[in-house]
Symmetry: C2
Subunit: 568 residues, 2 copies
Amino acid sequence: MLLPYWLKNYKKSQFNGDLVAGIIVAVVLVPQSMAYGLLAGLPPEVALYSSVLPLLLYAAFGSSRTLAVGPVGLMSLMTGATLIELDISSVNEMVSTAHTLALLVGVILLMMRAARLGAVINFLSHPVISGFISASAIIIALSQIKHILGLSLPRGTPAYETTYNILTQIPQSNISTSLIGVSSLFLLWWFKSPLVSVLKKCKITDSVIQLASKSGPLVAVAIGTYLVYTLSLNTQYQVSIIGHIPAGLPEFILPNLDPNLIKLLLPNALLIAIIGYLESVSIAKSMASQKRQKIDSNKELIGLGTANIASAISGGYPVAGGFGRSMVNFSAGANSPLASIITACLVGITLVALTPLFFYLPKATLGAIIVLAVLPLIDIHSFKHALSYDKTDAFSLLITFFTVLIIDVETGIIAGVVISIGLYLHRSSQPHIAIVGQVGDTEHYRNIDRHQVKTDKHILAIRVDENLYFANTNYLEDTIMRLVADDKEINHVVLICSSISVVDTSALESLGDILYGLETAGVKLHLAEIKGPVMDKLKETDFIKRIGEESIFLSTHHAMCSLKGRTN
Amino acid sequence: MLLPYWLKNYKKSQFNGDLVAGIIVAVVLVPQSMAYGLLAGLPPEVALYSSVLPLLLYAAFGSSRTLAVGPVGLMSLMTGATLIELDISSVNEMVSTAHTLALLVGVILLMMRAARLGAVINFLSHPVISGFISASAIIIALSQIKHILGLSLPRGTPAYETTYNILTQIPQSNISTSLIGVSSLFLLWWFKSPLVSVLKKCKITDSVIQLASKSGPLVAVAIGTYLVYTLSLNTQYQVSIIGHIPAGLPEFILPNLDPNLIKLLLPNALLIAIIGYLESVSIAKSMASQKRQKIDSNKELIGLGTANIASAISGGYPVAGGFGRSMVNFSAGANSPLASIITACLVGITLVALTPLFFYLPKATLGAIIVLAVLPLIDIHSFKHALSYDKTDAFSLLITFFTVLIIDVETGIIAGVVISIGLYLHRSSQPHIAIVGQVGDTEHYRNIDRHQVKTDKHILAIRVDENLYFANTNYLEDTIMRLVADDKEINHVVLICSSISVVDTSALESLGDILYGLETAGVKLHLAEIKGPVMDKLKETDFIKRIGEESIFLSTHHAMCSLKGRTN
């Protein structure tokens, strides 16, 4: 039998860590996944179903040992937005559409694997991702305030409208709900940090501290549920509760495969797949590098793809690796995906036996759990860093951030990608062009504006710090012709190609034009330090025949020595 | 008074050339512009109006001495496609929409000047332009076959549908029309080349040969008109004719400024403006470089912008610099924009006095004029060249070509731009990374796979041939970590930055990760040949503080000498 890589060499000593981590993650996952279901506008059981089979499939096919797969904030937000876009009102239809969406996400991920398109996430720059995640976290947190305060607001409005709605409707808040919501927020915060300090002072062992501090959501859920039940807050004070969750394990479902529905869902499914993959891979990589393990991007696509298909056919919605839970898993000592299998079993037991306990669970508590989970994702540090290091990147970050907030998540991420690529191309369309001279008596040539160098008044040696391609050929041509026109003593131009790895067809034509222009002006063009792969392509061209082999030098120094004193 | 640059130093000796060129261009322009009007689906007088005032405005504000502005094939095709998209049936409404379109094109060009966005055309690579023009030429030629054969086909169908329609309807051709059309084609071809050889043998002076060979369209028009008139082909054999053209100079018109119409036209106007500007600038540049004159791209935007606004308010449609006529103007000896002013006056005289002569002009002759004018634009050489030099460029060319043919002109050019940028980014996302060694006893270091070099088994010196930015940071990180993992003897990694001009925020984070990864593996990272502008940005960062100043070397040689023998 083909066992997963981690099972072949499983050591008994690893089991303890896996068991503890599996239990702690389950304690976090059960309330959190119900909360994320709420965020996506789906019944809680859909989110719980997404927390069983997908975990097992990822354990079998994924490449990260510690990634905790399941419902996550971003995917829930995007799923919810997709369902709102389609304007579906019946809950049954929303649930069935969510299954189809998960299936599409899974199939897209597997197809990305087949077409070797995993590298597409390389085009999401860090600043764009940071702006996207920060803005999404704000949208997610804002969307939960209505649950925390017991308001009824329309779903899926842009962030500024949600804020406006909240501010104008605060007087209509439900007092009981608000009390539960705000106390839950306080309780969750207290478990996150002050409790740990207290326990540390009492010299409790680390794994107990871990378990205690991560059980905040479960404690909040227990207290909230107990209060609603004993005080009948749901009937007497209109506190919203979760209500009936059908008991039992998820059943096999064939998702709706209506071609029209698939066509409608496809663009969003593509984006959800890319974002889910991106999130999972970055988390997995950062954990793996700390333990010197390896992440195989291709395996990740298969792991996540099968996990999403598993979610689709077992009544769930799109899943990915979650940041918070993965960190819990990792720091609680998980050694292998066995931890996730244990988690999945515990969620399964919950589904079979414990769902009646959640009947009186107030939505305000779930809202508070989401808010506390996403707030750490608002990343001001990255913005400050980008601002001080590279204004262009800070600009991409801001554009993404505000487009997500003002328009929506999909437009925001597309705007971010377009802007960051556009700015990169703009930068490379006006490359840095340096005039260089000899440093002392070395064979080294550097920028005359920055170093003490020797030059020859008849030889213009210039270095272009960029590939030559369609976007910058005009700029290069204009610059060289201007430099030569400005200095009549120049007889030779040496183009130093050390930074040039690509010369495309447009640039080749431009080089021909430059050669022709210089010739008619009585100036000879030479090339130095052409890289191997570039020369391989150039050597068959007319351009190289016209410029002549004697004008092509291995190094700038060779060129300068050979041209010195020659007057054409 | 502020005179145009060329009028200040006008020399008497220039006048002769201007006069001859002005007359020859007018002889070409009058029939050609009526033909382009037909192509755009507009009455002939609209095209003639576009050939008066715009020429004067370009003469006043443009920067090319010899660019012949007026109706051109591409703009007429795109204008026609825009009118079909809007589904306008009344001729009056089409004409008024064409005025608005010209106004928008003019305003967009002036705004591009104001926002310094002229460089946007740099993102159209030569292969994309070539594919676009070739496919457009085929579409234009195909669209005229119905006029040449006297068929009635729907307008604006994709090229394959037009071809299918033509082939199935050939039996319904109008014999008289076909005879006129095919003989016109033959006559025009004969004037283009065999006539010139005959005249050259008779030792006629060059300017007379020029005039004679360029009067082909006029002769075809005269013969066609005469035949229709004397044989009453229009009434007896249903040959389509131009009909009544109102006499008199264009009058001032305020274009329709309905905001809804403007919103509808805007995307197409933007594309027409960019294509018109691109076409004009490339023609102007290629002529200017032959006479060592200069083209100022900013002035071109103003010249073309005002020409289009002039066209809009004098009853015309979008104009640009035409390739064919500019070449005629140039080779007929035009020295200054005075030639264009003479052309405009002659077109004006035609409008005032000669329009009745065109009543019986058969549309078949105009169709033939267009076909002969656009066929030379089909550019197979560029495709062959791209195919042999750079498959990627050949691919962009083909994608653009077929998208234009199969879908439409706008989609084609957008697809071309997206594909060429995507392919460039893809290429730069997997940069060439070379391991280098010392060439002989020089200070020069080159690729170990291509040169006979010396290396040190404890030092890995690698050169990355690309900027470090978001799209390739993962690739760099993976490559370095793999190289170090594969060779346990390596103690030092020297990253040679001679090709690196940009290190963006994402790449900076990646460098930090690489440094951390190497440190934990017991390997020290060093940088060599960092360029000035890159170092300026890096020196304030944590990364440089962590790597330490002693690990930053001016040249690879310094690095190698200093590290040799050190064992950490």
